[in-house]
Symmetry: C2
Amino acid sequence: MEAERGVPGLSRVAGLLADPTRARFCLALLDGRAWTAGELARQAGVAASTTTEHLNALVAGGLLEQVRQGRHRYVRLASPEVAELVERLAALAPGPEPVPRSLRARTRQHRLAHARTCYDHLAGRLGVAVTEAMIGRGILADSQGLHLTPTGSAWVESVGLTVARGTRRPAVRPCLDWTERRFHLAGTLGAAFCSHALTAGWITRTATPRAVEVTPPGLEAFGELLGITAGDLRGAGAETVPGTPV
Amino acid sequence: MEAERGVPGLSRVAGLLADPTRARFCLALLDGRAWTAGELARQAGVAASTTTEHLNALVAGGLLEQVRQGRHRYVRLASPEVAELVERLAALAPGPEPVPRSLRARTRQHRLAHARTCYDHLAGRLGVAVTEAMIGRGILADSQGLHLTPTGSAWVESVGLTVARGTRRPAVRPCLDWTERRFHLAGTLGAAFCSHALTAGWITRTATPRAVEVTPPGLEAFGELLGITAGDLRGAGAETVPGTPV
DNA sequence: TCGACACTTCGGCCGGCGCCGAAGCGCCGG
DNA sequence: CCGGCGCTTCGGCGCCGGCCGAAGTGTCGA
Protein backbone atom coordinates (compact mmCIF):
# COMPACT_ATOMS: atom_id res chain seq x y z
CA MET A 1 0.00 0.00 0.00
CA GLU A 2 1.03 3.55 0.05
CA ALA A 3 0.75 5.33 3.39
CA GLU A 4 4.09 3.80 4.24
CA ARG A 5 6.05 6.72 2.96
CA GLY A 6 7.65 8.18 6.01
CA VAL A 7 7.30 5.12 8.15
CA PRO A 8 11.04 4.57 8.58
CA GLY A 9 11.61 8.19 9.47
CA LEU A 10 8.78 8.37 11.97
CA SER A 11 9.72 5.21 13.81
CA ARG A 12 13.40 6.08 13.81
CA VAL A 13 12.90 9.50 15.37
CA ALA A 14 10.40 8.16 17.87
CA GLY A 15 12.80 5.35 18.71
CA LEU A 16 15.40 7.86 19.72
CA LEU A 17 13.09 9.25 22.38
CA ALA A 18 11.71 5.86 23.36
CA ASP A 19 14.62 4.94 25.57
CA PRO A 20 14.30 6.29 29.13
CA THR A 21 17.95 7.31 29.31
CA ARG A 22 17.85 9.22 26.03
CA ALA A 23 14.53 10.74 27.07
CA ARG A 24 16.14 11.90 30.29
CA PHE A 25 18.95 13.51 28.32
CA CYS A 26 16.52 15.43 26.13
CA LEU A 27 14.43 16.55 29.06
CA ALA A 28 17.55 17.82 30.79
CA LEU A 29 18.60 19.64 27.63
CA LEU A 30 15.22 21.38 27.57
CA ASP A 31 16.85 24.12 29.61
CA GLY A 32 18.30 25.25 26.30
CA ARG A 33 21.90 25.10 27.41
CA ALA A 34 24.74 22.85 26.28
CA TRP A 35 25.70 20.05 28.65
CA THR A 36 28.82 17.91 28.63
CA ALA A 37 28.59 14.17 28.15
CA GLY A 38 29.82 13.60 31.68
CA GLU A 39 27.19 15.83 33.24
CA LEU A 40 24.47 13.97 31.41
CA ALA A 41 25.95 10.63 32.41
CA ARG A 42 25.93 11.55 36.09
CA GLN A 43 22.48 13.05 35.87
CA ALA A 44 21.09 9.89 34.30
CA GLY A 45 23.11 7.48 36.39
CA VAL A 46 24.66 5.50 33.56
CA ALA A 47 28.25 4.74 32.56
CA ALA A 48 30.21 7.10 30.36
CA SER A 49 30.41 4.53 27.60
CA THR A 50 26.65 4.16 27.54
CA THR A 51 26.30 7.91 27.33
CA THR A 52 28.60 8.07 24.34
CA GLU A 53 26.48 5.57 22.44
CA HIS A 54 23.27 7.42 23.22
CA LEU A 55 24.70 10.77 22.24
CA ASN A 56 26.00 9.35 18.97
CA ALA A 57 22.52 8.13 18.16
CA LEU A 58 20.84 11.41 19.07
CA VAL A 59 23.30 13.46 17.06
CA ALA A 60 23.10 11.14 14.05
CA GLY A 61 19.32 11.35 14.24
CA GLY A 62 19.43 15.12 14.12
CA LEU A 63 17.92 15.75 17.52
CA LEU A 64 21.13 17.06 19.07
CA GLU A 65 23.97 19.27 17.97
CA GLN A 66 27.45 18.82 19.36
CA VAL A 67 30.48 21.01 19.85
CA ARG A 68 33.82 19.51 20.79
CA GLN A 69 35.95 21.64 22.99
CA GLY A 70 39.21 20.21 24.22
CA ARG A 71 38.44 17.03 26.05
CA HIS A 72 34.81 17.94 26.50
CA ARG A 73 31.88 17.11 24.30
CA TYR A 74 29.06 19.61 24.57
CA VAL A 75 25.60 18.77 23.25
CA ARG A 76 22.38 20.73 23.03
CA LEU A 77 19.03 20.37 21.32
CA ALA A 78 19.41 20.92 17.59
CA SER A 79 16.59 23.48 17.23
CA PRO A 80 13.46 24.98 18.80
CA GLU A 81 11.48 22.50 16.71
CA VAL A 82 13.09 19.62 18.53
CA ALA A 83 12.43 21.27 21.87
CA GLU A 84 8.81 21.74 20.94
CA LEU A 85 8.52 18.13 19.88
CA VAL A 86 9.94 16.88 23.16
CA GLU A 87 7.56 19.12 25.08
CA ARG A 88 4.55 17.93 23.16
CA LEU A 89 5.40 14.28 23.56
CA ALA A 90 5.91 14.69 27.29
CA ALA A 91 2.76 16.76 27.66
CA LEU A 92 0.67 14.14 25.90
CA ALA A 93 1.48 11.53 28.51
CA PRO A 94 -0.96 11.43 31.40
CA GLY A 95 1.25 11.75 34.40
CA PRO A 96 0.49 11.59 38.11
CA GLU A 97 3.95 12.79 39.08
CA PRO A 98 5.20 11.27 42.32
CA VAL A 99 6.17 13.54 45.19
CA PRO A 100 9.89 13.18 45.82
CA ARG A 101 10.88 11.93 49.24
CA SER A 102 14.13 13.61 50.15
CA LEU A 103 14.24 17.13 51.50
CA ARG A 104 16.82 18.24 48.94
CA ALA A 105 14.61 16.99 46.13
CA ARG A 106 11.56 18.75 47.54
CA THR A 107 13.22 22.13 47.86
CA ARG A 108 14.60 21.75 44.35
CA GLN A 109 11.14 20.92 43.04
CA HIS A 110 9.82 23.91 44.93
CA ARG A 111 12.24 26.25 43.17
CA LEU A 112 11.48 24.79 39.78
CA ALA A 113 7.76 25.11 40.30
CA HIS A 114 8.30 28.71 41.19
CA ALA A 115 10.21 29.96 38.18
CA ARG A 116 12.27 28.21 35.55
CA THR A 117 13.10 28.21 31.90
CA CYS A 118 11.61 25.81 29.37
CA TYR A 119 14.14 25.65 26.55
CA ASP A 120 14.18 29.34 25.62
CA HIS A 121 11.18 30.83 27.42
CA LEU A 122 9.80 31.20 30.93
CA ALA A 123 7.78 28.49 32.65
CA GLY A 124 6.75 27.66 36.17
CA ARG A 125 4.44 29.98 38.08
CA LEU A 126 6.38 32.95 36.78
CA GLY A 127 5.75 31.86 33.18
CA VAL A 128 2.07 31.32 33.86
CA ALA A 129 1.74 34.65 35.67
CA VAL A 130 3.42 36.55 32.86
CA THR A 131 1.23 34.90 30.25
CA GLU A 132 -2.00 35.53 32.11
CA ALA A 133 -1.03 39.11 32.80
CA MET A 134 -0.48 39.58 29.09
CA ILE A 135 -3.92 38.21 28.37
CA GLY A 136 -5.45 40.33 31.12
CA ARG A 137 -3.87 43.49 29.71
CA GLY A 138 -5.01 42.76 26.16
CA ILE A 139 -1.50 42.09 24.91
CA LEU A 140 -2.53 38.57 23.98
CA ALA A 141 -5.96 37.21 23.15
CA ASP A 142 -6.91 33.57 23.06
CA SER A 143 -9.94 33.30 20.85
CA GLN A 144 -9.09 30.79 18.14
CA GLY A 145 -5.67 30.08 19.49
CA LEU A 146 -3.39 32.47 21.31
CA HIS A 147 -2.32 35.51 19.28
CA LEU A 148 -0.77 38.95 19.61
CA THR A 149 -3.21 41.89 19.52
CA PRO A 150 -2.49 45.34 18.01
CA THR A 151 -2.26 46.60 21.58
CA GLY A 152 0.26 43.85 22.14
CA SER A 153 2.42 44.90 19.20
CA ALA A 154 2.64 48.40 20.64
CA TRP A 155 3.51 46.99 24.05
CA VAL A 156 6.28 44.85 22.58
CA GLU A 157 7.75 47.89 20.92
CA SER A 158 7.50 50.06 24.01
CA VAL A 159 9.30 47.47 26.12
CA GLY A 160 11.98 47.21 23.48
CA LEU A 161 11.78 43.50 22.83
CA THR A 162 13.57 42.30 19.73
CA VAL A 163 11.43 39.54 18.33
CA ALA A 164 12.98 37.31 15.65
CA ARG A 165 11.45 37.98 12.23
CA GLY A 166 11.26 36.21 8.94
CA THR A 167 10.94 32.81 10.58
CA ARG A 168 8.21 30.22 10.29
CA ARG A 169 8.27 29.83 14.01
CA PRO A 170 5.14 31.51 15.37
CA ALA A 171 5.61 34.63 17.48
CA VAL A 172 3.12 33.35 20.01
CA ARG A 173 2.58 29.75 20.97
CA PRO A 174 0.97 28.24 24.04
CA CYS A 175 3.24 25.71 25.72
CA LEU A 176 1.95 23.10 28.13
CA ASP A 177 4.86 21.39 29.75
CA TRP A 178 4.71 18.24 31.80
CA THR A 179 4.87 19.77 35.27
CA GLU A 180 2.55 22.75 35.09
CA ARG A 181 -0.90 21.88 33.92
CA ARG A 182 -1.52 25.39 32.64
CA PHE A 183 -0.36 27.14 29.50
CA HIS A 184 2.47 29.60 29.31
CA LEU A 185 3.98 31.64 26.53
CA ALA A 186 6.45 30.16 24.04
CA GLY A 187 7.27 31.09 20.45
CA THR A 188 9.64 33.84 19.35
CA LEU A 189 7.93 36.36 21.63
CA GLY A 190 8.28 34.06 24.62
CA ALA A 191 11.95 33.60 23.78
CA ALA A 192 12.49 37.33 23.32
CA PHE A 193 10.87 38.17 26.65
CA CYS A 194 12.90 35.58 28.52
CA SER A 195 16.13 36.67 26.92
CA HIS A 196 15.36 40.32 27.65
CA ALA A 197 14.52 39.54 31.26
CA LEU A 198 17.88 37.81 31.68
CA THR A 199 19.98 40.53 30.10
CA ALA A 200 18.07 43.27 31.90
CA GLY A 201 18.73 41.53 35.19
CA TRP A 202 15.07 40.97 35.99
CA ILE A 203 15.81 37.31 36.57
CA THR A 204 19.01 35.36 37.23
CA ARG A 205 19.96 31.72 36.96
CA THR A 206 20.54 29.79 40.18
CA ALA A 207 22.54 26.72 41.05
CA THR A 208 19.59 24.45 40.35
CA PRO A 209 19.52 23.67 36.64
CA ARG A 210 16.66 25.39 34.79
CA ALA A 211 15.61 27.37 37.86
CA VAL A 212 15.63 31.17 37.81
CA GLU A 213 15.01 33.79 40.49
CA VAL A 214 13.24 37.11 40.21
CA THR A 215 15.48 39.98 41.36
CA PRO A 216 14.16 43.05 43.22
CA PRO A 217 14.46 45.27 40.13
CA GLY A 218 12.82 42.46 38.19
CA LEU A 219 9.85 42.42 40.52
CA GLU A 220 9.53 46.16 40.06
CA ALA A 221 9.68 45.83 36.27
CA PHE A 222 7.10 43.06 36.19
CA GLY A 223 4.82 45.18 38.31
CA GLU A 224 5.19 48.23 36.13
CA LEU A 225 4.93 46.46 32.78
CA LEU A 226 2.42 43.75 33.58
CA GLY A 227 0.93 44.52 36.96
CA ILE A 228 2.42 41.41 38.53
CA THR A 229 2.88 41.44 42.31
CA ALA A 230 4.95 39.26 44.58
CA GLY A 231 1.73 37.56 45.63
CA ASP A 232 1.02 36.43 42.06
CA LEU A 233 4.29 34.57 42.04
CA ARG A 234 3.78 32.88 45.37
CA GLY A 235 1.20 30.61 43.83
CA ALA A 236 -2.25 29.47 44.87
CA GLY A 237 -1.23 28.26 48.32
CA ALA A 238 -1.21 24.47 48.76
CA GLU A 239 2.29 24.64 47.44
CA THR A 240 4.14 24.31 50.71
CA VAL A 241 4.46 20.62 51.24
CA PRO A 242 2.37 19.58 54.27
CA GLY A 243 4.35 18.61 57.32
CA THR A 244 7.61 20.16 56.22
CA PRO A 245 8.70 23.42 57.85
CA VAL A 246 10.82 24.62 54.93
CA MET B 1 18.34 14.69 40.12
CA GLU B 2 15.22 16.39 39.11
CA ALA B 3 14.66 16.82 35.39
CA GLU B 4 13.42 13.27 35.45
CA ARG B 5 9.85 14.26 36.01
CA GLY B 6 8.13 13.25 32.84
CA VAL B 7 10.77 10.81 31.70
CA PRO B 8 8.51 7.74 31.95
CA GLY B 9 5.76 9.51 30.07
CA LEU B 10 7.97 10.80 27.31
CA SER B 11 9.68 7.50 26.64
CA ARG B 12 6.44 5.56 26.83
CA VAL B 13 4.66 7.71 24.26
CA ALA B 14 7.70 7.79 22.00
CA GLY B 15 8.02 4.04 22.34
CA LEU B 16 4.54 3.61 20.95
CA LEU B 17 5.58 5.32 17.73
CA ALA B 18 9.02 3.73 17.64
CA ASP B 19 7.81 0.46 16.22
CA PRO B 20 7.54 0.49 12.41
CA THR B 21 4.25 -1.36 12.40
CA ARG B 22 2.61 0.96 14.90
CA ALA B 23 4.07 3.92 13.05
CA ARG B 24 2.49 2.61 9.86
CA PHE B 25 -0.85 2.36 11.61
CA CYS B 26 -0.68 5.96 12.78
CA LEU B 27 0.39 7.25 9.42
CA ALA B 28 -2.51 5.43 7.79
CA LEU B 29 -4.89 6.88 10.37
CA LEU B 30 -3.68 10.37 9.50
CA ASP B 31 -6.49 10.46 6.95
CA GLY B 32 -8.70 11.20 9.93
CA ARG B 33 -11.03 8.32 9.39
CA ALA B 34 -11.65 5.22 11.48
CA TRP B 35 -10.13 1.99 10.21
CA THR B 36 -10.92 -1.56 11.26
CA ALA B 37 -8.25 -3.74 12.82
CA GLY B 38 -8.31 -6.03 9.79
CA GLU B 39 -7.76 -3.21 7.31
CA LEU B 40 -4.76 -2.04 9.25
CA ALA B 41 -3.40 -5.58 9.49
CA ARG B 42 -3.58 -6.05 5.72
CA GLN B 43 -2.16 -2.63 5.04
CA ALA B 44 0.82 -3.28 7.29
CA GLY B 45 1.28 -6.89 6.27
CA VAL B 46 1.18 -8.41 9.76
CA ALA B 47 -0.96 -11.08 11.38
CA ALA B 48 -4.27 -10.20 13.01
CA SER B 49 -2.97 -11.22 16.42
CA THR B 50 -0.04 -8.87 16.11
CA THR B 51 -2.39 -6.08 15.15
CA THR B 52 -4.52 -6.67 18.22
CA GLU B 53 -1.53 -6.30 20.47
CA HIS B 54 -0.39 -3.10 18.80
CA LEU B 55 -3.83 -1.54 18.91
CA ASN B 56 -4.18 -2.40 22.57
CA ALA B 57 -0.94 -0.58 23.26
CA LEU B 58 -1.86 2.47 21.22
CA VAL B 59 -5.30 2.75 22.81
CA ALA B 60 -3.92 2.26 26.32
CA GLY B 61 -1.33 4.91 25.59
CA GLY B 62 -4.00 7.40 24.61
CA LEU B 63 -2.95 7.82 21.00
CA LEU B 64 -5.96 6.02 19.57
CA GLU B 65 -9.66 5.89 20.31
CA GLN B 66 -11.68 2.80 19.59
CA VAL B 67 -15.29 2.01 18.86
CA ARG B 68 -16.55 -1.56 18.85
CA GLN B 69 -19.29 -2.27 16.40
CA GLY B 70 -20.50 -5.83 16.03
CA ARG B 71 -17.54 -7.96 15.17
CA HIS B 72 -15.50 -5.00 14.02
CA ARG B 73 -13.08 -2.88 15.98
CA TYR B 74 -12.75 0.62 14.63
CA VAL B 75 -9.85 2.83 15.67
CA ARG B 76 -8.89 6.40 14.89
CA LEU B 77 -6.44 8.98 16.19
CA ALA B 78 -7.54 10.23 19.58
CA SER B 79 -7.30 13.95 18.78
CA PRO B 80 -5.91 16.60 16.44
CA GLU B 81 -3.04 16.96 18.90
CA VAL B 82 -2.00 13.38 18.27
CA ALA B 83 -2.25 13.91 14.52
CA GLU B 84 -0.07 16.98 14.80
CA LEU B 85 2.47 15.09 16.84
CA VAL B 86 2.71 12.31 14.30
CA GLU B 87 3.12 14.84 11.50
CA ARG B 88 5.87 16.69 13.30
CA LEU B 89 7.79 13.57 14.14
CA ALA B 90 7.61 12.34 10.56
CA ALA B 91 8.51 15.76 9.18
CA LEU B 92 11.58 15.99 11.36
CA ALA B 93 13.11 12.91 9.81
CA PRO B 94 15.23 13.59 6.74
CA GLY B 95 13.80 11.30 4.13
CA PRO B 96 14.81 10.54 0.56
CA GLU B 97 11.59 8.72 -0.28
CA PRO B 98 12.06 5.81 -2.70
CA VAL B 99 10.11 5.71 -5.94
CA PRO B 100 7.74 2.75 -5.90
CA ARG B 101 8.25 0.15 -8.60
CA SER B 102 4.84 -1.22 -9.53
CA LEU B 103 2.51 0.60 -11.88
CA ARG B 104 -0.38 0.40 -9.44
CA ALA B 105 1.76 1.97 -6.75
CA ARG B 106 2.89 4.75 -9.06
CA THR B 107 -0.58 5.77 -10.15
CA ARG B 108 -1.69 5.69 -6.54
CA GLN B 109 1.21 7.89 -5.55
CA HIS B 110 0.33 10.19 -8.40
CA ARG B 111 -3.21 10.64 -7.14
CA LEU B 112 -2.05 11.26 -3.61
CA ALA B 113 0.50 13.83 -4.72
CA HIS B 114 -2.29 15.58 -6.56
CA ALA B 115 -4.84 16.05 -3.84
CA ARG B 116 -5.44 14.32 -0.54
CA THR B 117 -6.42 14.91 3.02
CA CYS B 118 -4.00 15.10 5.92
CA TYR B 119 -6.01 14.18 9.01
CA ASP B 120 -8.69 16.86 8.72
CA HIS B 121 -7.34 19.33 6.19
CA LEU B 122 -6.20 19.44 2.55
CA ALA B 123 -2.71 18.45 1.48
CA GLY B 124 -0.98 17.49 -1.76
CA ARG B 125 -0.69 20.00 -4.56
CA LEU B 126 -4.27 21.07 -3.95
CA GLY B 127 -3.48 21.89 -0.33
CA VAL B 128 -0.37 23.82 -1.31
CA ALA B 129 -2.21 25.70 -4.08
CA VAL B 130 -5.04 26.69 -1.77
CA THR B 131 -2.63 27.91 0.89
CA GLU B 132 -0.50 29.91 -1.50
CA ALA B 133 -3.57 31.43 -3.12
CA MET B 134 -4.71 32.53 0.33
CA ILE B 135 -1.37 34.17 0.96
CA GLY B 136 -1.38 35.75 -2.48
CA ARG B 137 -4.83 37.24 -1.90
CA GLY B 138 -3.91 38.62 1.50
CA ILE B 139 -6.15 36.21 3.37
CA LEU B 140 -3.13 34.86 5.18
CA ALA B 141 0.21 36.53 5.92
CA ASP B 142 3.34 34.76 7.01
CA SER B 143 5.47 37.31 8.77
CA GLN B 144 6.25 35.90 12.24
CA GLY B 145 4.40 32.70 11.59
CA LEU B 146 1.34 32.20 9.45
CA HIS B 147 -1.74 34.13 10.58
CA LEU B 148 -5.15 35.29 9.42
CA THR B 149 -5.40 38.92 8.29
CA PRO B 150 -8.44 41.21 8.75
CA THR B 151 -9.06 40.78 5.01
CA GLY B 152 -8.96 37.07 5.68
CA SER B 153 -11.56 37.23 8.43
CA ALA B 154 -13.94 38.96 6.05
CA TRP B 155 -13.22 36.35 3.36
CA VAL B 156 -13.93 33.51 5.79
CA GLU B 157 -17.25 35.07 6.65
CA SER B 158 -18.20 35.72 3.02
CA VAL B 159 -17.49 32.11 2.06
CA GLY B 160 -19.56 30.94 5.01
CA LEU B 161 -16.96 28.82 6.71
CA THR B 162 -17.80 27.78 10.24
CA VAL B 163 -14.52 27.82 12.12
CA ALA B 164 -14.45 26.13 15.51
CA ARG B 165 -14.20 28.69 18.31
CA GLY B 166 -13.24 28.66 21.92
CA THR B 167 -10.53 26.11 21.38
CA ARG B 168 -6.83 26.29 22.10
CA ARG B 169 -6.15 24.83 18.69
CA PRO B 170 -4.87 27.64 16.48
CA ALA B 171 -7.08 28.74 13.60
CA VAL B 172 -4.12 28.80 11.27
CA ARG B 173 -1.16 26.48 11.41
CA PRO B 174 1.40 25.60 8.76
CA CYS B 175 1.68 21.86 8.23
CA LEU B 176 4.70 20.27 6.61
CA ASP B 177 3.92 16.65 5.97
CA TRP B 178 6.41 14.02 5.00
CA THR B 179 5.61 13.82 1.28
CA GLU B 180 5.29 17.44 0.24
CA ARG B 181 8.23 19.57 1.13
CA ARG B 182 6.13 22.73 1.17
CA PHE B 183 3.74 24.06 3.76
CA HIS B 184 -0.01 23.84 3.57
CA LEU B 185 -2.81 25.04 5.77
CA ALA B 186 -3.87 23.17 8.91
CA GLY B 187 -5.52 24.35 12.13
CA THR B 188 -9.22 24.92 12.63
CA LEU B 189 -9.46 27.04 9.50
CA GLY B 190 -7.81 24.32 7.42
CA ALA B 191 -10.23 21.80 8.85
CA ALA B 192 -13.22 24.06 8.23
CA PHE B 193 -12.25 24.68 4.62
CA CYS B 194 -11.72 20.99 3.92
CA SER B 195 -15.00 20.03 5.53
CA HIS B 196 -16.84 22.76 3.63
CA ALA B 197 -15.28 21.67 0.35
CA LEU B 198 -16.49 18.12 0.94
CA THR B 199 -20.06 19.00 1.88
CA ALA B 200 -20.33 21.56 -0.90
CA GLY B 201 -19.24 18.90 -3.39
CA TRP B 202 -16.12 20.77 -4.46
CA ILE B 203 -14.08 17.66 -3.80
CA THR B 204 -15.00 13.98 -3.38
CA ARG B 205 -13.25 11.00 -1.88
CA THR B 206 -11.99 8.32 -4.25
CA ALA B 207 -11.22 4.63 -3.87
CA THR B 208 -7.62 5.36 -2.93
CA PRO B 209 -7.47 6.05 0.79
CA ARG B 210 -6.79 9.70 1.62
CA ALA B 211 -7.02 10.78 -2.02
CA VAL B 212 -9.62 13.32 -3.13
CA GLU B 213 -10.68 14.63 -6.53
CA VAL B 214 -11.69 18.13 -7.51
CA THR B 215 -15.12 18.16 -9.17
CA PRO B 216 -16.05 20.53 -12.05
CA PRO B 217 -18.14 22.76 -9.75
CA GLY B 218 -15.26 22.60 -7.30
CA LEU B 219 -12.82 23.85 -9.89
CA GLU B 220 -15.17 26.71 -10.63
CA ALA B 221 -15.51 27.58 -6.96
CA PHE B 222 -11.75 27.50 -6.39
CA GLY B 223 -11.30 29.80 -9.36
CA GLU B 224 -13.90 32.26 -8.16
CA LEU B 225 -12.89 32.32 -4.50
CA LEU B 226 -9.14 31.95 -4.77
CA GLY B 227 -8.18 32.42 -8.41
CA ILE B 228 -6.97 28.84 -8.72
CA THR B 229 -6.90 27.38 -12.23
CA ALA B 230 -6.66 23.79 -13.43
CA GLY B 231 -3.05 24.51 -14.34
CA ASP B 232 -2.17 25.37 -10.74
CA LEU B 233 -3.27 21.91 -9.69
CA ARG B 234 -1.37 20.08 -12.38
CA GLY B 235 1.84 20.76 -10.57
CA ALA B 236 5.24 22.04 -11.61
CA GLY B 237 5.81 19.46 -14.35
CA ALA B 238 8.47 16.84 -13.55
CA GLU B 239 5.64 14.95 -11.90
CA THR B 240 5.06 12.38 -14.62
CA VAL B 241 7.48 9.62 -13.82
CA PRO B 242 10.19 9.43 -16.49
CA GLY B 243 9.89 6.49 -18.84
CA THR B 244 6.33 5.66 -17.95
CA PRO B 245 3.58 6.61 -20.42
CA VAL B 246 0.81 6.89 -17.85
C1' DT C 1 57.29 15.15 30.37
C1' DC C 2 54.03 12.82 32.96
C1' DG C 3 49.86 11.98 35.34
C1' DA C 4 44.86 12.96 35.57
C1' DC C 5 40.78 13.30 33.25
C1' DA C 6 37.00 13.18 29.57
C1' DC C 7 35.56 10.59 26.27
C1' DT C 8 35.55 6.42 22.93
C1' DT C 9 35.80 1.57 21.34
C1' DC C 10 35.00 -3.18 21.93
C1' DG C 11 33.21 -7.59 23.57
C1' DG C 12 29.79 -9.86 25.94
C1' DC C 13 25.70 -10.35 28.76
C1' DC C 14 20.82 -10.11 29.34
C1' DG C 15 16.08 -8.64 29.14
C1' DG C 16 12.35 -7.08 26.48
C1' DC C 17 9.54 -7.04 22.61
C1' DG C 18 7.68 -7.99 18.04
C1' DC C 19 6.33 -11.77 15.48
C1' DC C 20 3.65 -15.91 14.36
C1' DG C 21 0.29 -19.95 14.50
C1' DA C 22 -3.19 -22.40 16.90
C1' DA C 23 -7.07 -22.31 19.49
C1' DG C 24 -11.01 -19.79 21.41
C1' DC C 25 -14.83 -16.38 21.57
C1' DG C 26 -18.62 -13.64 19.86
C1' DC C 27 -21.32 -11.57 16.20
C1' DC C 28 -23.58 -11.82 11.87
C1' DG C 29 -25.91 -13.85 7.87
C1' DG C 30 -28.25 -17.55 5.82
C1' DC D 1 -29.38 -23.07 14.35
C1' DC D 2 -25.15 -23.38 12.01
C1' DG D 3 -21.17 -21.85 9.36
C1' DG D 4 -18.08 -18.09 8.45
C1' DC D 5 -15.61 -14.29 9.80
C1' DG D 6 -13.30 -10.74 12.73
C1' DC D 7 -10.98 -10.32 16.59
C1' DT D 8 -8.53 -12.04 20.90
C1' DT D 9 -5.57 -14.96 23.89
C1' DC D 10 -1.66 -17.71 24.63
C1' DG D 11 2.83 -19.97 24.18
C1' DG D 12 7.08 -19.88 22.13
C1' DC D 13 10.75 -18.23 19.15
C1' DG D 14 14.39 -15.06 17.73
C1' DC D 15 16.49 -10.79 17.50
C1' DC D 16 17.59 -6.26 18.66
C1' DG D 17 19.39 -2.99 21.77
C1' DG D 18 20.80 -1.10 26.28
C1' DC D 19 24.10 -1.89 29.72
C1' DC D 20 28.60 -2.56 31.74
C1' DG D 21 33.77 -2.95 32.41
C1' DA D 22 38.27 -2.90 30.50
C1' DA D 23 41.34 -1.04 27.53
C1' DG D 24 42.56 2.79 24.32
C1' DT D 25 42.98 7.79 22.59
C1' DG D 26 43.44 12.56 22.99
C1' DT D 27 43.74 16.88 25.93
C1' DC D 28 44.90 19.62 29.74
C1' DG D 29 47.58 21.07 33.76
C1' DA D 30 51.58 20.72 36.70
